[in-house]
């Protein structure tokens, strides 16, 4: 006869064993066929590779940044799929809405970690910070759509583009060395988070490297709605060049507040501070048109760049409603690196996560069709900075992407010497 105690003991053993069994199921996805080793996210029978996208599809960052980048990533691989895939393997995506929240990013990462071979797009400095240790524990490569210099040190994170910190340094190199302004009165306004701190680090390095006359370093909270105090400080400081490590909505309010207070310095926008959507705000359009943006890469529609024609065709074919947008271009360019890793791993016969990491380390340099300058990757933190160059753009509503280049692509003295 089965006693109650025996029955409950069996239930307990079963419940205790379930997580172990589940863990085994999660980690025993490796297999091999035809000399090709495969890890999670690879189906050798159906010849598919599943990649993850962790991006805000709702919330304020979704429209201007998250969705265009994700569209760029998908357009790149839809094209690859339509042209035979990678050695016959088709790429598919598991997409999760993170709402730009670190907590949600972790939750969504944990939901998909056993379904994907790597993360093809993780948007945002703070969300990516939140999953970097989890990704390292899983040996999961993450293509991060962030330019935080602090994340360049991470073994399993792939950055594409010049970090924020170096963008700031290049901006002041342009003012001092290209325009020949000596000891300019400068200031920075930054949001009080990791993104802002990276801009501030670059600003402080630039002050020292270029002997800037630093007159103000002003911060604001992400939830601030009134910027009168910050702008009044900038005005009182007499700064002629003000660098903005902000996001588009704050950019709009700060510039409008300054104009209202009769303060009109040369605004220099960190790349995420600008969005072409700002030009759709009628009252703001004339105010922001004097501003500069520090970014890099080919101007939208410049078909003299080898990769531009293909990108425009893919955008028209797969995302016809997508407006000209630097973030779409970034997502598309970012995918050149992911593609190169997958291709290399395939050639090595190892489509496991460790195989992908070895492939990434052996890449050295990736050509991104001229959409962004070639990225270089090594194993030390300094070598993990993919690019150090920038282009200074002028905001220009007549241009397809809302900006036109003021300078050629260049790397300033401070940015070339900056150590991470």
């Amino acid at each position: 006869m089965v006693t109650k105690r025996f029955f409950f003991a069996c239930i307990l053993i079963l419940l205790a064993g379930l997580p172990i069994l589940a863990g085994c199921a999660g980690s025993s996805t490796g297999s091999s066929s035809g000399g090709l080793k495969a890890g999670p996210g690879v189906d050798l029978n159906k010849k598919t590779i599943t990649l993850g996208i962790l991006s805000p599809y709702s919330g304020p960052v979704a429209g201007p940044v998250g969705i265009p980048i994700a569209n760029g990533v998908k357009a790149f691989f839809y094209h690859v799929n339509d042209h035979g895939g990678i050695n016959g393997f088709k790429v598919q995506f598991v997409e999760q809405d993170t709402q730009y929240s670190p907590q949600l990013e972790v939750q969504k990462y944990n939901q998909i970690r056993n379904q994907v071979l790597m993360i093809a797009d993780s948007l945002g400095t703070q969300p990516t910070f939140a999953i970097k240790d989890l990704a390292a524990a899983d040996h999961m490569l993450v293509s991060a759509a962030t330019l935080s210099s602090a994340l360049a040190r991470e073994k399993y994170l792939i950055l594409v583009g010049t970090p924020y910190r170096l963008q700031v340094e290049n901006a002041f190199d342009y003012i001092v060395n290209k325009l020949g302004v000596k000891n300019p009165a400068t200031a920075i306004i930054y949001q009080n988070d990791d993104y802002g701190q990276d801009g501030l680090t670059g600003y402080r390095e630039a002050v020292s490297a270029y002997h800037l006359h630093d007159v103000a370093q002003v911060s604001f909270a992400v939830n601030d709605t009134d910027f009168t105090a910050q702008v009044a400080q900038l005005k009182a400081s007499g700064a002629k060049y003000v660098f903005m490590t902000t996001l588009p909505t704050a950019t709009a309010t700060i510039i409008a507040t300054a104009y209202k207070l009769g303060y009109n310095p040369q605004w220099i926008l960190q790349s995420p501070a600008f969005s072409i959507q700002l030009l759709a705000v009628p009252a703001l359009k004339p105010l922001i048109s004097r501003a500069w943006v520090v970014s890099q890469g080919a101007a939208w529609g410049d078909t003299s760049v080898p990769g531009m024609k293909q990108m425009l065709e893919d955008q028209a074919k797969y995302f016809p409603k997508q407006q000209p947008d630097g973030y779409f271009e970034f997502g598309y360019a970012e995918s050149y690196v992911t593609y190169a890793i997958l291709k290399k791993a395939m050639e090595n016969g190892d489509l496991t996560r460790d195989g992908l990491f070895r492939a990434f380390e052996s890449l050295q340099s990736v050509d991104m069709g001229g959409l962004l300058p070639p990225a270089h990757y090594g194993s030390t933190p300094d070598q993990r900075v993919p690019t150090r160059d920038s282009v200074i753009y002028q905001v220009d509503a007549t241009q397809p992407a809302g900006v036109k280049p003021l300078s050629s692509d260049f790397t300033g003295v401070a940015a070339s010497q900056s150590h991470f």
Binding site: P60, A221, D224, T228, A229, A256, K260, A280, V281, L284
Partner: protein
Amino acid sequence: MAYFLQLVFAGAAQGCIYALIGLGFSIIFKASQVINFAQGELLLVGTYVVASAVLNWHLPFLLALPLGLLVTILIGLLFERLVLRRMIGRPPFTILMITIGLDIILRTLVVVGWGSRTIPAATPFTVTSGFNVAGVHLGSSDLWTIAVTIVLCAALYYFFRRTRYGLAMRATALDQEAALAMGIDVRTVYALAWGLAAAITTLGGVLLAIDSLAIDPNFGNAALVAFPAIILGGLDSISGAVVGGVIIGLTSVLTAGYESRLPAVVGTGLHEVTPYLIMILILLIRPYGLFGSRKVERV
């Protein structure tokens, strides 16, 4: 001196916005003892409707504004009629959770209806409209915000002191059962409170959006900033919401204006915590807020 006065003016205008949003919280709490966590999303919907009416349907601002108010009043009334009325007598926590549900529904509706992109806010002014006095710029939008708040406070004072429905609301707030016994239609009072609160909060949102120039689906978070204001003023006090709003607005802007003169370890981000520090300090001295009613229970 001009610098200080500029900050005081901006702080007063910002405080008036908090006061308007806080009034919405207080009116509902006073009438029904419910903290409405959907207040921010009512503000969001109203602001989006006004923006769309001006930019897409090309209505003049002065027509778009009542339209936005009407939409949020209707949402408030419908919510009260269809949901809250069935919850009378249920624990306050249950009702609070329902308002959180409404908050999520309204935000989702905004994303579905307008998308998650940043859109231009409706404004009747140019950015520079206003005038300068002794080096201080008095912007039209800020002047209007202060004027609207003063007029509205006077109107509410009159409403609660002199009108039949205002007195009914006060009686209901004091003792619901006694009010019923006196023949007051408590359901109408609740509906009135929700409609009034929705309209005042929306007005605060529209005035805030004028200065922001652009709005996005996170715009409703502005209501959270008003929260310390109503707590320190006294949750059930109309005048407390106004005084609390102005105190929070002034201290927040003044701290932001002077924090860079403090050592970095103290100054950086100080204005973010100042409203909460003041709130804690005042609650330590007056646990029911500056103007809140002290509850006495017979045990």
